[in-house]
Amino acid sequence: MYSLNNVSLDITEGQIFGLLGPNGAGKTTLISMLCGLIKPTSGHFTIDGLDYQHHSSKIKKIIGVVPQEYALYPTLTARENLLYFGSMYGLKGNDLKDKVIETLDLLGLLKFADKQVQTFSGGMKRRVNLIAGILHNPKVLFLDEPTVGVDVQSKNAIIDYLKVLNQNGTSIIYTSHHLAEAEDFCSNIAIIDQGQIFTKGTPSSLIDSVEDARNLEDVFISLTGKALRDAI
């Protein structure tokens, strides 16, 4: 039994690619492989023409990762967290400081820059979590449910900022359970279940492909079924 089986995807530059699927479908496993956190038992993939086996550090320089949990130091301030993670991408000096200020400002957090992250609301933490993955202007950005558990305002701020990033040349690969959000945000979508890709295409082409489907949720239910997917 494999978490992923026979997965074949071609994500072109400039896309916002959504990986949608029920719990346990294999979305996070796939993203973890693409981020270099898990080695596949077989098969291969390339990012910008590079593979992990030979170009691990080169790939890590051009990708950004925004994990599902708040991967931040709670007792450090937002600025301290971002200066640290930015430096790990090789940024330094005033370039780094300026970039931190600029992104904090863009996501409405500049006035909280010197507050400890543990005092932030969920939405604020999500935004800092996002900034920590994009300070180095990655070519490819992986987002694992970036808007889970946040208020509408924070969600809009995050999505709007991601759209700007994409317009500036960052390709985005994103997982979510918010189907309406994905329908609006993604240029391409793959629906994944039981470790396999069920279908892929643009949101409108997917809706058109299923009879009587009015939105992405209808497509999703028709492909993955209504049964609960609790698993341990």
Binding site: C35, G36, L37, I38, K39, S57, K60, K61, I63, V65, P67, E69, Y70, A71, L72, Y73, P74, T75, L76, E80, L83, Y84, F85, S87, M88, Y89, G90, K92, Q116, A132, G133
Partner: protein, 429 residues
């Protein structure tokens, strides 16, 4: 890479600065520990103690022997002799009950007629020898009465069951010595009387004595005291306790997701480990200098001897640094393998105590059973302790502590390498 290491160090210091509990564990607890333990253990190193142990003496003899025992015990710096409780003379039953209840640690029961029987026994023996040498008149030997049988006498000792074996042995040995001296004196005196007054005057002072030769450095005697033994030992213990906050720090990084984020960054785990090693090495050295400062400046004001670091501080610092490396390596390994703080904290604490026990922090290695002596040589705390004693008490040079500090450094390299390897293997799953 250097900038990444620097930023890692800055981050670690910021995390520590904001962790009050962690700071207390790192800096305050070791000071409390070293002061407390040194104060407690100081009396065992002192020749004159301020506090004397009260012991019960039941005198059923009422003779010269019991008086000598009483006088010698009173003169000793260790004991005060109690012969009455509630204005009543202590009996054997009362003494036994009080000692078993732990109210007194020791009771000495001197048997009835000890003095007279001892003298009678000595007289019999001396007479026998003198007559065998033909030195008595024939009429006296002819009319000699048959000798009465004198039973052996027993001085009973009751110890509080909670008393440690070392204390028991020390007390029994000193009482044995006291009794032997009394017997010897009686024999000499009886011989003197038998041979005729004034004709022979025996020299009753011990012919063989012993003297401890204290090692000297620059013509100054280096006399070990509680501080010179305790400060290095407990400093090492405190340095190794860094294992707990360090392993918790690593486990936290894993549980809060920052470690996963770092694994997706273009930074190797080695940089993270170097960052932690530098930070915690600095902490070890701060701990060390704080404890040395307390031992040098505070101890004299609380009645303890001052730690003599004259000419030793540089080498002591090197020993502390390398012992710190060993502790850090262990902490990194533990933090890497443990999945939760509930695993790392208790395991870290217990393993440090075990390492201290087998390393000779409490019981000297030479006093351990032979198998434990071999095991002790594999404890990083033993390497550190031996190196500290070499520097402080044996006045050795850097060259002579190289084996011990090299072992500590190798331990650090080995444990860190295992941690890196383990992490890489785990990542490949």
């Amino acid at each position: 890479m250097l900038y990444k290491i620097w930023m890692s160090v800055v981050k670690e210091f910021l995390l520590l600065k904001r962790d009050l509990g962690g700071l207390i564990i790192l800096f305050v607890m070791p000071l409390v520990l070293v002061i407390t333990v040194t104060l407690i253990q100081d009396s065992t190193f002192k020749t004159v103690s301020d506090s004397k142990i009260p012991i019960l003496l039941v005198d059923n003899d009422k003779g010269t022997v019991s008086k000598t025992v009483f006088d010698n015990l009173e003169k000793s710096s260790l004991f005060t002799v109690v012969t009455q409780i509630d204005n009543k003379a202590v009996t054997e039953d009362v003494a036994r009950e009080n000692v078993h209840k732990g109210k007194y640690q020791l009771a000495i029961i001197i048997p009835k007629d000890l003095s007279t029987d001892l003298q009678a026994k000595v007289d019999q023996n001396v007479e026998k020898i003198v007559s065998s040498l033909g030195m008595t008149d024939s009429t006296a030997s002819a009319s000699a009465k048959p000798q009465r049988i004198i039973k052996e006498k027993e001085v009973k000792l009751y110890f509080d069951p909670a008393v440690q074996m070392s204390f028991k042995n020390a007390v029994m040995s000193s009482i044995d010595k006291m009794i032997s001296q009394i017997e010897t004196k009686s024999i000499y005196t009886t011989f003197q009387n038998q041979l005729g007054e004034g004709t022979t005057d025996f020299e009753q002072k011990s012919f063989i004595t012993f003297k401890e030769i204290i090692p000297t450095i620059n013509n100054k005697e280096i006399r070990p005291n509680s501080v010179q033994h305790n400060v290095p030992a407990w400093t090492l213990f405190a340095i190794f306790f860094i294992v707990i906050p360090l392993s918790i720090n690593i486990v936290k990084e894993k549980s809060q997701g920052t470690f996963v984020r770092l694994r997706t960054n273009p930074v190797s785990n080695l940089v993270i480990i170097i960052g932690k090693t530098i930070t915690y090495s600095v902490i070890c050295m701060i701990q060390f200098y704080m404890m040395v400062a307390v031992a040098v400046f505070l101890f004299p004001s609380i009645g303890l001897p001052s730690l003599n670091i004259e000419g030793h501080l540089f080498l002591m610092s090197i020993v502390a640094l390398f012992s710190g490396f060993a502790a850090i390596g262990f902490g990194i390994l533990l933090g890497t393998i443990a999945s939760t703080q509930e695993q790392s904290a208790p395991f870290g604490a217990t393993s440090v105590i075990i390492l201290a026990a087998i390393g000779g922090i409490w019981v000297p290695v030479f006093a351990m059973p032979s198998i434990m002596q071999i095991i002790a040589k594999s404890s990083p705390m033993n390497w550190g302790l031996e190196a500290f004693y070499d520097v402080l008490l044996r006045n050795v040079s850097l060259l002579e502590i190289i084996p011990e500090i090299s072992l500590s450094f190798l331990f650090f390299i080995l444990t860190s390498a295992i941690a890196l390897f383990y992490d890489q293997k785990k990542r490949a799953v």
